[in-house]
């Protein structure tokens, strides 16, 4: 019997990904209420292109940063400002 083929997955380069997700799609993928996503933008955790939710476009990197901040808020009981700072510092640390 032939071995089961291993599936091949396309990898998306996080740092270079374009702004492809609109606001509702971003919230759906993130499974987060729109109000919470607005707060993530307001506190500088994520940086969509465009002005205002109707025109916002998000990158895969925003998705990563949003999920990271939500884990930090949930697990370390941080507030949004603290999570925004932690995400920024973790990213800088990673680049060193």
């Amino acid at each position: 019997m032939a071995p089961t083929p291993i599936p091949v997955f396309e990898a998306e380069l996080l740092e270079e990904g374009g702004f492809s997700l609109d606001f509702s799609h971003f919230c759906a993928v993130l499974q987060c209420p729109e109000g919470e996503a607005v707060q993530l933008v307001r506190y500088g955790v994520i940086h969509p292109s465009g002005s205002g939710p109707q025109h916002w476009r998000f990158r895969a990197l925003d998705l990563y940063r949003a999920r990271l901040s939500r884990r930090l808020i949930r697990d370390l009981e941080l507030d949004l400002a603290g999570a925004a700072l932690a995400v920024e510092l973790l990213e800088r640390l990673r680049q060193l």
Partner: protein
Amino acid sequence: MEYKDYYQILGVERSADANAIKAAYRKMARKYHPDVSKEKDAEERFKDLQEAYEVLKDPEKRAAYDQLGANWRPGQDFRPPPGWNPSGAPHGGPDLGGFSDFFDSLFGAQGRGGFRSSGFQAHGEDSEAAISISLEDAAQGAQKNITLEIPALGPDGRMHRQPKNLQVRIPKGVTEGQRLRIAGQGGPGMGGGPNGDLYLHIRFLAHPKFRVEGRDLYHDLHITPWEAALGASVEVPTLEGAVRMKIPAGSSCGKKLRLGGKGLPGPGGKTSGDLYAILQIVVPKTLSEKETALFTQLAEVSTFHPRR
């Protein structure tokens, strides 16, 4: 199953009040959170912390746990006492699947039932791993076979780590430190929620010929003293094969010569780094009679004095 000492895990006395428990959890969670910690066993330690905090922060669960008494030792073989029916509230949090058999034996069964019937959905955890690739793979793109340990939901409804094999197409133009996202290949979602994503951190394997800085490559190019003095056309390796490069006459050791566009390509091959050949003048360790004679003659006639 093994008994877990939740007080010891959080590093608090059995008499600790709610504030002390919260403070201890926050302090330890900062140390062992997998997104923050560099500790080797961070993930396991953090899971233990979450479990301990889940029990000790809740007065009812804590009271139920305390009913077991203080004479148990961590790791001691444990079975719930006959007729065990704690007054603690069933666990209903989204992390239930990650807790231990010990926790489940005390609180889990009821909690899981309530959890599932509540219609709760949760996004699966993202997974992160490192992948080491060659410079050639980075320059040309590659398909790599990787095996990872990722969380998976077992038939008993609890999380286990299990190996997963997948082929990943690595796009052309990645560099060290960048991350690749593979959508939906992280931990499984719960209650019908979507899977998490897998993030692969790119590391470069050491290359026998090149060092990397950003997208630029550096190569130590060994040349003879007469090539340095007289100039020469020599072969230089690149990721796409050897090319010829002109060494100007009078080149000193350490001189940096640039081959534009022969470094690592950018994403999609749009922009490229450069390749720098660093001249290293290599002198033969042993000289033939004739070579000795010629060098001696050169020493006698030359007016060059580099230390003046």
